[in-house]
Symmetry: D2
Subunit: 391 residues, 4 copies
């Protein structure tokens, strides 16, 4: 069930639970681990902790809570992510050099914000607008929970000593329960969120689409199938690739999923549980859209569109990987950006990105839903991304 | 009318006419003008002349014409564009340094290929497959005719003495005949080419789409309206832009359409007819997708999707500019790449590009049609691109 | 007095003192501060702590101490800097993402190495070769002490909240004691180290040079003089600059020394003691060679060569800034690289770098001498660099 | 003999001869060949033709010739190379896109300038200042004659069909006449030009240097010796290289001199006479300073300094290759840049470049002399550069 409520007590319970979950993810970390930003598209754990709190301070407390005193005047600048409407922010690629405020101070910040949020929710009536921004903040926090894990994996996975985040914490070991294809008939279908419970603006605007008949796999590509693709020289066969995908794998020297490495002829993969053997039966992870598409070409099939995915969702087993679709991330009919900072949440990214559907083993509990539209540039591989075939 | 025929005499006539038209475009050139490649995405006139001939030699004569002797063994390598299936090719960005073969030798190549093509067409029965590849070659040549002009404009437009290609050859002076919006009702519509006459593979696969009600302008944005956008600080207002668009204009220092420059407070534009005043009534040209989208935001409207465009096409006046749509360039249902080199024509570019519809003042006669899907990366500005609003 | 001795007790005393000094420099740090590498040419404090210990483990204990067990098999790889002879090493630009081993573990490493070094020095006779490598290790440690401060300053100085490393720890407040020029007569002079006490291989090979008459300032350029250069549009006057210097300041947008910023018309500078006013009487710091050279041009003077500097050294007051000379870093006559890893210490950097003489307020006690040849690329500004004029 | 005279008739003769020589170098070119700029550090033949004329127009005729009318107002902008004092200039990397003015028009420009120069020299008394600038212009033209050949070789050498500039025009076939070393005694020597005849400002300021005893080869490294270096894995042995040199060859994938390529196990080299076998006895060419230095390391010797070279010059056979020295390009004692544009000729390049001495097979007749200081960045390989060993 997605987050949603109309009752302050429930709101407080959700708020406390989700905020605590973020901190629980950090429990295995040393202070050192909170700092680095290994690549420009990832962020340090400290930053995730602070930025999610900044969201509640900047977009909730400063607006709705009378007499609220900001925790630290610098934080507005330091922990803004990409909201131009809210003034200057630190360049995205410099987040890993900000050692002060300390981790301890950031936890104090969280505590301070939490106390004021709980005070507010305990004492004030929340109208729907206020509830909406609160739920947005909590969903935002859940998104950063997943990013915190994937970004940390990037840092650890590029450390030559391969640190273990958590024993048995691999997140990559799930297997398929089914092996069949689901057939969907031609017709007019409804797409988008129905307005019950929380959803992002990019899911809004329920509308009709016409779909031709298609079949969609009720399983995700597993590591064994992908090894066959590698062995069949998939990475060396230009005709399987987009022109840009071919350039990408050639230039970057990519010959396997991210985190895979071959030692003495055996495929190993770095996971948050450490370096382990790649299991053939486990579901493939950490591939770019380009690789997903090339694999489908090699199989003589294709990726589903996001609409085909959503229509079939009830018949599918999903939630282990973010599944690349062959749909570009574009607005639904009638999409309208909100004004101000909230309007920057999704709309301004609707170019050059592909939609992913489903959710992954790293996605926070209760965060996914069938209408959810995730999106990334086609060359990114550090999320738990996978492949579902269609034909 | 698009190119299409079933009769060899007509084929020869078309072939001769289209090939001659390419050369007529080069009539105003000096030998020097045939050489430079100003940027990696453009090509020299000499290369266009040779590459279009290479197409007929490599994909027609070598395959269908018995005993054909290739003109020069080096040309297969030198004038391949991007067909991986046909072996190595010169790096795209090095085309401007290839002074030999000479221009004269390239014209001899054209003559040689033409002679063999005409001989073939005069003496052989062309089955539909052979006709198809011939028509593809002629349409390919027409595409390069337009590129020849836009690439040349890039070279001349960045020369500080602003050479004149042809007196009165501006190609930017057309004006709108209408100022109204066309309303289209909700419903299921058919998209794609019906198979009568020539079309590219990316138009194939007629299929149904469901469209909600919309209105689409029967005019293109003119220079005067765009000047208002500039004066209203459109280029300095982050909220109007995609995140990547904002980065693009900031980083490149873009503050006006390509080829515009302000001298003593007056907007001038470089055209193939030389440097002229920007006329407010003339239709805007040479803007990126990002600028088109930001302009629409500023107007409180949006760009049409390619489906909305195609459905309304019969009611619209079009063909002055390539019109950016808000559709990503993706395959139609059932799209299947052909095998071999021909399969590389369109399919492998279906990522990170946006669809443009219509055609421009530089598009060759008889080359456009309502189902035509042109595509470019969203930051490109050197084509005759324009904006049609929808709401 | 430079480090040097022939007596094990003194060696132990020196070893203990210098190793302890490194750790004392880290006393004001939080765990977080040990991690980031703000730019590729700087390194994290943790890395400096480990790498200097690695030097003793790899180049001393593993070679001379029988039965020595290495502390951790990974460290040889993780904390090698640039010694190709000693196998693979982590890419220089990735040092800031290595959160494990922890800071605590690195301190344990230091302790372990120290214990074994002291055991060795307490029980073994050190022949001259062994003494030499020990002294090299201690001088190496002192070099990293200075880098630890300058690298940390880079991290803190680019943090928008400008953390204070140590109250009153600015290191930039020294003033000139003299204002005169020293005249040196034409003649043959001896250059290079005489072999008494420690020196680096790049100082070896005493040799003669012939110098023409010259005058050299017995003071360094102060902030006030440099402000005049700025106000006189020094940064906008192409004729004062090397061609590459001009490109550098234009491209990087440089208009003042590193760490200077103008707030409300007042020049401020970030120091390790926090953000303070720029004092006109204090000695200028943090300028590139290009700026030093342009300033001298503007003054109608020049920078001294490293030979002119060394010959005059006894008559000069020096040791507040690393002084850019107009000498390229090249070998002395008869210079010969040692074999193996030690040979990589200096010789392989003798291209595209300029010599700096003197020493700075951040240089460790007893580390400088008149024959010392420091060297950096001409665009670097993060060391405590200054300007001495000659004519 | 270097250019120099005090007599107008001789001046005219020199002027006519040198200007004609430039055009004779272009005799084998087609119009197409005049246009491309293959890399940012090279220039098109058309540009060389125009720029050398621009020098006489801008720095001679406009200043000394009353009533002179400039040929074309655009040329001042188009054909300035790097003289900031003379206003804006076209970006260096865009020279290859300037197709207009045509080649014919540039020849007309040369003719016009020549006519006015000859008129002036026929009718006016030339004082020493005027003679100096004339001689500078002629020496400047000779420098560009060599660059014209090396730049053209870069264009042709990267064309897959390897055009022949001139039959038997290889310029790389010379062999050593000697195989001995010359011994020079320790002492004070005089360096720099004595003022008789023409010289550049960077040779001025005769001064004394003290040199220790040394031996210098009276031969240049030949191709056979360099093949041994390659076969002995010179390009794979890090210890032979500067740190930056090692990075350079690794990153660029360099494994042989420029223009060498191995076909079926045989070394071939592109020359202006076409693709030919590499002759073991011929003198090596087209190597970077890094390669020269690594080769000397491998031989257990070193490169000479520019002073050692100049002192020994009378005893050496030189003039086949520009010989990399181990001296950085720095000012002589007392060096003073001239004011205005002339002052930009040499001085502003005195950073990050190495001195080359001698002259090459492509150097114009009468252009070299023993005090001549050529200079290039250490990674450049497109000049006819070679190696002379010292010890």
């Amino acid at each position: 069930m997605s987050l949603s409520t109309t009752n302050n007590k429930q709101l407080i319970e959700q708020y406390v639970r989700i905020r605590a979950y973020t901190e629980s993810l950090c429990a295995p970390l040393n202070t050192e681990d909170y700092i680095p930003q290994p690549v420009h598209f990832a962020s340090p754990p400290k930053w995730h902790l602070a930025h999610t709190s900044w969201f509640f301070e900047e977009l909730f407390l400063k607006i709705y809570s009378q007499h609220y005193q900001e925790f630290d005047a610098h934080f507005s600048f330091l922990f803004n992510s990409y909201y131009n409407a809210l003034g200057n922010r630190i360049m995205r690629e410099n987040r890993g050099s900000i050692t002060r405020p300390t981790v301890e101070h950031v936890y104090a910040y969280r505590k301070y914000v939490d106390q004021h949020m709980i005070d507010y929710l305990s004492n004030e009536v929340c109208n729907p607008e206020i509830q909406d921004i609160l739920l947005l903040g909590l969903n935002h926090e859940q998104q950063h929970q997943e990013l915190l894990l994937t970004d940390l994996k990037h840092t650890f996975g590029h450390n030559p000593i391969f640190p273990v985040y958590k024993e048995n914490g691999a997140l990559t070991e799930s297997k398929n329960k089914h092996q069949n294809f689901v057939d969907i008939q031609e017709g007019i279908y409804t797409i988008g969120h129905d307005g019950t419970g929380f959803s992002y603006d990019n899911e809004h605007g329920q509308h009709q689409v016409f779909l031709h008949e298609y079949s969609i796999a009720n399983f995700l590509v597993d590591n064994g199938s992908y090894m066959e693709f590698i062995e069949d020289k998939g990475y060396e066969t230009a005709s399987l690739w987009h022109d840009e995908g071919w350039t990408f794998v050639q230039k970057e020297g990519i010959q396997a999923p991210l985190y895979w490495t071959q030692l003495d002829g055996v495929w190993k993969q770095y996971t948050l549980g450490g370096l382990i053997d790649v299991s053939k039966e486990s579901i493939l992870s950490h591939i770019s859209f380009y690789e997903a598409w090339a694999f489908a070409e090699w199989k003589g099939m294709r990726l589903a569109t996001e609409f085909e995915w959503e229509v079939a969702a009830d018949s599918l087993d999903w939630g282990q990987r973010w599944e690349w679709t062959n749909s570009a991330y574009l607005p639904y009919p009638g999409f309208k950006k909100a004004g101000g900072a909230i309007g920057e949440y999704n709309g301004k990214f609707m170019i050059n990105q592909m939609v992913l559907r489903g959710g992954s083993a790293a996605t926070s509990p209760d965060h996914g839903r069938a209408t959810y539209r995730n999106f990334f540039h086609p060359h990114y591989r550090w999320q738990y991304t996978g492949i579902r075939l269609a034909k």
